[in-house]
Amino acid sequence: MGVANKNAKAMTPQQQMEFAVTLKREPSMSSSCNSTPLHPRSSQDADLGDDDGTPVGATLDVYMGDADPFPLPVDSEHKARKMKLFSFAPPHMLAFHLSWFSFFATFVSSFAPAPLLPVIRDNLDLTGRDIGNAGTASVAGSIASRLVIGALCDLVGPRYACAFLLLLTAPAVFTLASVSTATGFIVSRFLIGLSLGSFVTCQFWMSSMFSAEVVGTVNGTTAGWANLGGGASLLIMPLVYHLIEGPMGFDRFVAWRIAFVVPGFIQVLSALLVLVLGQDLPDGNYQELKVKGEQNTDTAWKVIFYAVINPKTWVFALSYGYCFGVELTVDNILTSYFFDRFDLPLHTAGVVASTFGLANIVTRPFGGYLSDWMAQNLGMRGRLWALWSVQTAGGMACIFLGRIGHLAGTIVVMIVFSCFAEMAAGATFGVIPFISRRSLGVISGIVGAGGILGAVLTQLIFFTSSAYSTETGISLMGIMIICCTFPIIGVYFPQWGGMLRPASTSPSATEEAYYLREWSQEEQRQGMHLASLKFAENSRGERGKRVAPQPVLNPMSSSATLALGAGVQYKMA
């Protein structure tokens, strides 16, 4: 190959091939390689000879030159290995921005009625109970939709799943303008709340576009930024309403109806952008890849089955309910807590309480980043430890929060609690992409639904009856957080280990064995498992820095697999 290498080390021919490929793409990569402050790994991407045990991956097809060079460095599945925040380059970063914006749009729509409630409750003659039910309905709907959308992602791809959800719930936003009874209002908010299932399409899409090294950071950033949609609608909707009521001179009861055109439009626009500009995978869309024979058609039952029988799915559904779910519950009760217990004026209480949710802009991405950073040295064990310790620390902060009697201390502990709870939510989705490759969508959906269910249950148990005062409820909630985080200690991947147990030393404890157990022999004969195989190989980094045995390959696998297997080498630490 004759490549000049400033780190002149003896490289195998395989590594030389890849190094050549990397250098060939360097002009377009140069800016992206060295300027991503968020990426946990070193920015010297040319350093292929370093001893971190990460395989460089077989890049046979890239070497053959039939794929267009990507603007970001990629692995063998063409998933980006780095994130460049302010780039919109297709396919990876464009997908990133489309994804968080479409999820953001659904938050805006779901929480749009909230700031206009003073007008809506007069127009529809709502009682306090109606308003409470509508608020619960708007998040409860997302439980069902997250489960369904997970399966849809696995089957038709995240692009269509996202557009399907947004475009089919947009009518609910528009027809809110025609509602005239309390029942109609509650039903509308339920249907609009279904759109919050786009959380799953967002995380699934990011897990398909970005590799194991940055998947936590990317998942956390998209979810954290999208969460701001709730706060954004508190700003946008009153402005729009006053514009329509004031300068345009419409009556109050007409103006709020017209105002809902705005969130509806934002939702439709973001869905159309996703369809037109986005693509499901770095190599193309599911449809095209199916035609080319590179993407298999899976069946819904199989996908759901492999998600449901995996116990890790349920462990994380429970734990996510007690980081993200708790966050939602606290968003609901915090304003009244400051107003009632510390006698803050209502507006001030609202502003102070809103900082809890607004912290998401940095805390959730940071949680994902922490997960990726721990994975560099400790692999999956590091991710699990990061998640468990952050969430347990959040639980302890929550116990304190209920016990502090003065305002300043409460605000400080609230900020600490928000950081830990939101970081835990970000860190959760640093682990989810590795539980299963076949059923990633359904698992993301179940965990996401678990989050909302946790919110609804916590609100019901601790903050609805008058059996506990709010501060007692908060402390008890903290204890519940710690208990529901406990099962994470039992999560164990044979090839990577768990929190307390190291990885199995058996030669059959490999990534390939773990991901291929979801495919039957018949399916493997049809070659349906190839994507999982590539993913298995790319997830080798989750071993951290320990010695890795050679994978034992299935002798019945296709020749393509053998070629991949032979091409892979990785450094011993």
């Binding site: 009682t127 269509y160 027809t175 303008a177 009556d251 109050r252 709020w256």
Partner: protein
């Protein structure tokens, strides 16, 4: 309940005795109930079913003959449209509070403040479109020259449960809004289906 009436009565007596030195009240219970107020619809019909934006309310008020008060400090009268108890149930944003500054019972002004006369006061008021559907009564607050409330009168009973009238609000819906909503909804569903079929046929064409 009896105790509350006793307390209110004793407050009123205290106000009577110190009426010469009376200052603005901060509690509703300090006000003296010295006016009689009545509200009717057009042609002296019942105000029940008055339509917002279309019908008028006729309010008359006068000094109550039963209340022996010194009205030398009474300067202006503010008329307000207030929520009756049935429309306050389970609606904490309309809650009655004895502290006048926190009281949310009376949400709407009927006309502008008028000079105080002992009798013969009427006002015709077109019910505005922003008035929501509820059971209402009319209350008149009497202000002194400093603008502080000193007395009141209302068209309902003291507990605000009877002698209420219903106002029918506008729905806020318009045919044009409904049609626009239907059109946008249809657009959103059709664009999804359109894209789906377009991509399916274009990949099929590529395969063929």
């Amino acid at each position: 309940m009896d105790l509350a009436i006793l307390r209110v009565a004793s407050f009123i007596i205290v106000v009577h005795m110190s009426s010469i030195l009376a200052e603005g009240a901060t509690l509703f219970s300090e006000l003296s109930n010295s006016l009689t107020v009545s509200a009717t619809g057009a042609d002296n019909t019942s105000p029940n079913g008055t339509k917002a934006g279309a019908d008028e309310l006729f309010v008359t008020w006068a000094l109550s003959s039963a209340a022996q008060v010194d009205d030398s400090s009474y300067k202006t009268v503010e008329l307000k449209l207030c929520f009756g108890v049935p429309s306050q149930i389970d609606r904490p944003w309309r809650k009655t509070n004895n502290v006048l500054s926190k009281d949310k019972t009376c949400g709407f002004n009927i006309g502008s403040p008028q000079p105080y006369n002992r009798a013969g006061n009427t006002i015709n008021w077109l019910v505005r479109k922003e008035i929501p559907f509820a059971h209402y009564f009319v209350r008149a607050y009497v202000l002194d020259s400093a603008g502080e409330k000193v007395a009141y009168g209302q068209s309902s009973n003291a507990q605000r449960t009877s002698n209420l009238f219903r106002i029918e609000a506008i729905s806020g819906r318009h045919a044009s809004i409904d049609i626009a909503a239907a059109v946008f909804s249809a657009f959103s569903v059709i664009s999804l289906l359109g894209f789906f079929f377009y991509e399916k046929t274009s990949t099929r064409g590529r395969k063929a």
